[in-house]
């Protein structure tokens, strides 16, 4: 017998989160992590108890987007995520000293299971998961363990991103994972607040304008929340009923 005991407690660890939003994207560089971080900040600003878990181990960047420095979880019958800008935040970056984490697929999966098993989130209105890109062992494991996760899919105007996205949505249907909606990032300015219509590709529920000022706001949560990107994402969250949840 070689029984892995860790999965037995993961459901218990995630039990306190009323909603789990898995921010996914199937292409690199489409703004998945910025969307996850900004959504977490927007939720915290609205008064929701919010957690953010950076599960993109190979390319962990949420700590850079938030500007979260000098943080480390507290040991208390497991690990309690540090709170930054009102967001309980967990990342592999706490354990890597910002160095490369060269992991093969099975190792990523093992590390994610370890952190899911030992992290004590407590009571949360929302837990935002910044998912590993694409679909692989790690992404499938997260979906397996975070059973109540709902997907918020991020794409870009590129036909390539849209095509990959439509295939991913099919897969989520097969896995019985609910999809809250699709947001198209880096959209042309005219797309603001519009549903798919003339000149816009179908398949997105909300559009986030390309924002040249976004890069300069990275690492500064207050500035990030003032960007056109954050304003569009707030509108998208409103439209997708994410902000309709009661505060616990």
């Amino acid at each position: 017998m070689n029984l892995d005991p860790r999965p037995s407690v993961i459901e218990e660890r995630l039990k306190g989160a009323r909603r789990i939003i898995a921010v996914t994207g199937w292409k690199g560089g489409i703004g998945k992590s910025v969307t996850a971080c900004t959504l977490a900040l927007l939720l915290a600003k609205k008064g929701y108890k919010t957690g953010l878990f950076d599960l993109d181990f190979a390319g962990a960047s949420d700590h850079l987007i938030l500007g979260a420095r000098g943080l480390f979880p507290k040991e208390e019958k497991g690990l309690e995520p540090p709170v930054f800008e009102g967001v309980s935040f967990m990342s592999v970056a706490f354990f890597s000293e910002n160095r490369a984490v060269p992991l093969r697929g099975a190792n990523v999966s093992d590390a994610i299971i370890e952190l899911l098993a030992i992290t004590r989130w407590g009571a949360l209105d929302f837990l935002v998961l910044d998912m590993p890109p694409g679909i692989n062992d790690a992404a499938l494991d997260v979906m397996r363990f975070a059973r109540k996760a709902e997907v918020l899919a991020v794409t870009t105007p590129s036909v390539l991103a849209h095509d990959v996205l439509s295939r991913s949505i099919e897969l989520y249907k097969k896995l019985h994972v609910p999809v809250i909606g699709v947001v198209e990032n880096m959209s042309p300015p005219r797309a603001r607040g519009m549903r798919a219509g003339p000149g816009l590709k179908k398949g997105a529920d909300a559009y986030l304008r390309f924002d040249a000022g976004l890069e300069g706001a990275l690492g500064r949560p207050a500035a990030l929340l003032k960007t056109a990107f954050a304003s569009d994402l707030a509108m998208a969250a409103e439209r997708l009923d994410i902000f309709a949840a009661e505060i616990c």
Binding site: M1, P5, S8, E75, E97, V101, V108, A117, I118, R120
Partner: protein, 134 residues
């Protein structure tokens, strides 16, 4: 006290396994401590004792700790090597303690310096056997 969370996973999985196997009385379980994760046995055993109250089915279960040496196999050059002799700072050892996969960030194959190695044995905590009466 991060050991507490792992002890909880051990006792819960042992109780669940016993229930699935229809064991009426849990007598003994083997708990493997992989050398790489450097679990503090004293804290872990204390946590197990405290957790028995939450898991009455494990009230009389003896948890036998089995220490397993870590063994690595380099995927780049095939070299097999132990943990002993690999250099790491106190902080790096602490990070590996929390997430053993961090070994790939801080440790290297002593022969070719590659971080692309397999943790062949002794990674972390697992359960090797469960004994009970049906």
């Amino acid at each position: 006290m991060h050991e507490w969370a792992l002890a909880e996973s051990v006792i819960k999985s042992v109780v669940e396994h016993a229930s699935a196997e229809k064991l009426k009385k849990l007598k003994e379980a083997g708990v493997v401590f992989g050398e790489l994760q450097a679990i503090d046995g004293e804290i872990f055993s204390f946590a197990l004792e405290e957790l028995r109250r939450q898991f009455p089915a494990a009230k009389a279960c003896k948890f036998k700790i089995i220490k397993q040496p870590a063994a690595f196999r380099c995927k780049a050059c095939g070299h097999e090597f132990p943990l002993k002799g690999l250099r790491k700072t106190k902080d790096e050892a602490e990070f590996i303690h929390f997430v053993p996969e961090m070994a790939h960030t801080f440790l290297k194959c002593p022969a070719c310096k590659s971080p692309d190695f397999e943790i062949a044995a002794g990674r972390g905590v697992s359960v090797s056997y469960i004994k009970g009466e049906k």
